[in-house]
């Protein structure tokens, strides 16, 4: 069984981005870039399935600029067997990404596609669901537990107010939520080994996919800042303020 794992190169999650002064976007030049944290969880889950013998091959895919090869090397250092880089502009839209992935799915014929539930740059939370729609496959989004049995996968999902378990016929799409697992750190020997693993490079156009954006960003702005309030000296003072000034209790 093959598993395809799309990974995205994003600004490292520990970095607070700043809006460009001309309001055209956020400043990303020179910032540390890393694998999208939810995608790391997806890679980890796929690699664990291969280590358990449930899967035979894990293929990492990234769609973006040339530097996304670093992200693919990370995925291979974590245990992916090989990778595919599809060159396009930076951070293409989920619809275009889903179309590229559909083309790759048709070529590679995986039984499962594991994705992160959302990328922490554009916060779209859409690619997995869209790929599932385009393929007509079942989708187990926001997964906190994944099991395989009898040609199906049982996915426990994080939903409002608790969890829900669904059973999906394979092939299927799963998107990873935070609690699915704790991704490993790549060891130095594995980082070295990953340099020798195969990486194929394609152009999005080679796959016949129109990458044109449907959304035009008119402006990007800082959210309204919240002013720091006052320090109160005692519980009595706090209660007095909440009661008479803020009038919320």
């Amino acid at each position: 069984m093959k598993i395809l794992v799309p990974v995205k190169r994003v600004v490292d999650y520990n970095i607070k981005v700043l809006v460009k002064s001309d309001g055209t976007g956020v400043e990303t030049a020179g910032l540390k870039m890393s694998m999208n944290p939810f995608d790391e969880i997806a890679v980890e889950e796929a690699v664990r399935l291969r280590e358990k013998g449930a899967a035979t091959e894990v293929i990492a895919v990234s769609i973006g600029v040339q530097q996304a090869q670093d992200t693919l090397r990370t995925a291979m250092a974590m245990g992916a067997d090989r990778s595919i880089l599809v060159l396009s502009e930076e951070s293409p839209e989920p619809l275009a990404v889903a179309k590229v992935l559909k083309a790759l799915v048709e070529r590679e014929k995986p039984d499962l596609v594991f994705l992160g539930k959302q990328a922490i740059d554009d916060d779209m939370n859409a690619t997995g669901q869209m790929l599932a729609g385009l393929l007509g496959w079942g989708q187990g989004t926001f997964a906190s537990k994944v099991e395989l049995a009898d040609g199906r996968t049982e996915v426990t999902r994080e939903v409002d107010g608790g969890t829900e378990t669904v059973s999906l016929a394979l092939p299927a799409i799963v998107t990873a939520d935070l609690r699915l697992n704790e991704p490993r750190y790549a060891s130095l020997p594995n980082i070295m080994k990953a340099k020798k693993k195969p990486m194929e490079t394609l152009q999005a156009a080679d796959l016949g996919v129109d990458m044109a954006r449907r959304l035009t960003t008119l402006s990007v702005a800082e959210p309204p800042a919240r002013k720091a309030g006052e320090k109160v000296g005692s519980v009595a003072e706090l209660v007095e303020k909440l009661r008479n000034e803020a009038k919320v209790i």
Binding site: V11, N125, G133, Q139, V166, P223, G229, A246
Partner: protein
């Protein structure tokens, strides 16, 4: 312009988040509410949706396949109705986020998630980078598929309207997915996303036992929902569905009391639209104090019980 809004119900009422979606959709055109479920549950949902002011028509689709809001059949139902609409809208709940992107893909549309402001029929504002920036985007798609962030749109009332209900013949019979089970712990506390007051705990509580020993009495007294930071959830102090933040729930109550929460960017993104924020923290330099209206620096294990007694 006509807008189709996907409706979720709970205990025979239209969920507050869906009523926010109805209110948001009202800015775009005439609102039709889509309710789905089994024959009985869809009828109950239709009756509830018909009463929400602002709904012009309710479209009811009933089938056993639609019993559990599974994304696959639900998306097919929406797509079959899509010709009649310029906009398809849902609240950005777990269900909305699950279904609408699938709908969008089937319609060859790029969805617009988590809309916080509607500028025009094709122009929307949405947060990116965990709410550290707000992007205004214009869609060139003929149909717009969007989820709205419920805390940014005042919900329509639950009662007062009387829309007509139209039964639509379902176009789904079977699906690649099956519902197995759901686990929704029952609680007397209000739902996090619609609570007027939230008491939220973080790393400073130190353990699951302390989390509840310290916070439960205060939440009980205030009739508040319990929230938690990601660290508190990861450490097992509180269940995952309590998590407030960019990757958890986004809330905007009248009063948010952050106890032992330092205020990581991800957490602030989930609660900074609260009307009044109180921070109780021993660290005078904690980032949460930068957004708090009232900050009390000190030992939470002394302050919170004292506060509980004083209210």
């Amino acid at each position: 312009m006509t807008v189709l809004v996907l409706i979720e119900t709970e205990d025979g009422q239209v969920r507050q988040a869906s009523r926010s979606a109805i209110a948001a959709a009202g800015k775009l055109g005439e609102v039709h509410a889509l309710v789905t479920g089994t024959e009985a549950s869809a009828q109950a949902a239709a009756d509830a949706a018909a009463k929400v002011p602002g709904v012009a028509k309710v479209r009811k689709v009933a089938s056993d396949v639609l019993a559990h809001d599974l994304a696959e059949p639900l998306a097919d139902v929406v797509v079959a109705l899509a010709d009649d609409y310029n906009h398809i809208v849902a609240a950005s709940t777990a269900s909305g986020k699950n279904v609408l992107p699938r709908v969008a893909a089937l319609l060859d549309v790029q969805p617009i998630p988590d809309v916080v402001e509607i500028k025009a029929a094709d122009t929307f504002v949405r947060p990116i980078y965990a709410g550290n920036a707000l992007a205004t985007v214009k869609s060139s798609d003929t149909k717009k598929v969007l989820t709205i962030r419920p805390t940014n749109f005042d919900p329509a009332a639950a009662e007062g309207g009387s829309a007509a209900i139209e039964a639509v013949v379902p176009n789904v019979t079977d699906t690649v997915s099956r519902f197995v089970s759901s686990e929704t712990p029952q609680s007397d506390r209000p739902e996090l996303e619609s609570a007027r007051v939230i008491v939220s705990g973080g790393r400073g509580l130190g353990s699951c036992e302390n989390f509840h020993k310290i916070l439960d009495p205060l939440a009980d007294k205030l009739g508040a929902a319990l929230g938690a930071s990601r660290v508190a959830v990861d450490s097992g102090f509180a269940p995952n569905d309590c998590q407030v933040g960019q990757t958890g729930k986004v809330v905007a109550p009248e009063l948010y009391i952050a106890v032992g929460i330092s205020g990581a960017i991800q957490h602030l993104a989930g609660m900074k639209d609260s009307k009044v924020i109180v921070a109780i923290n021993k660290d005078p330099d904690a980032p949460i104090l930068q957004v708090a209206d009232y900050a009390l620096v000190g030992d939470l294990f002394e302050i919170v019980p004292e506060l509980t007694n004083a209210i």
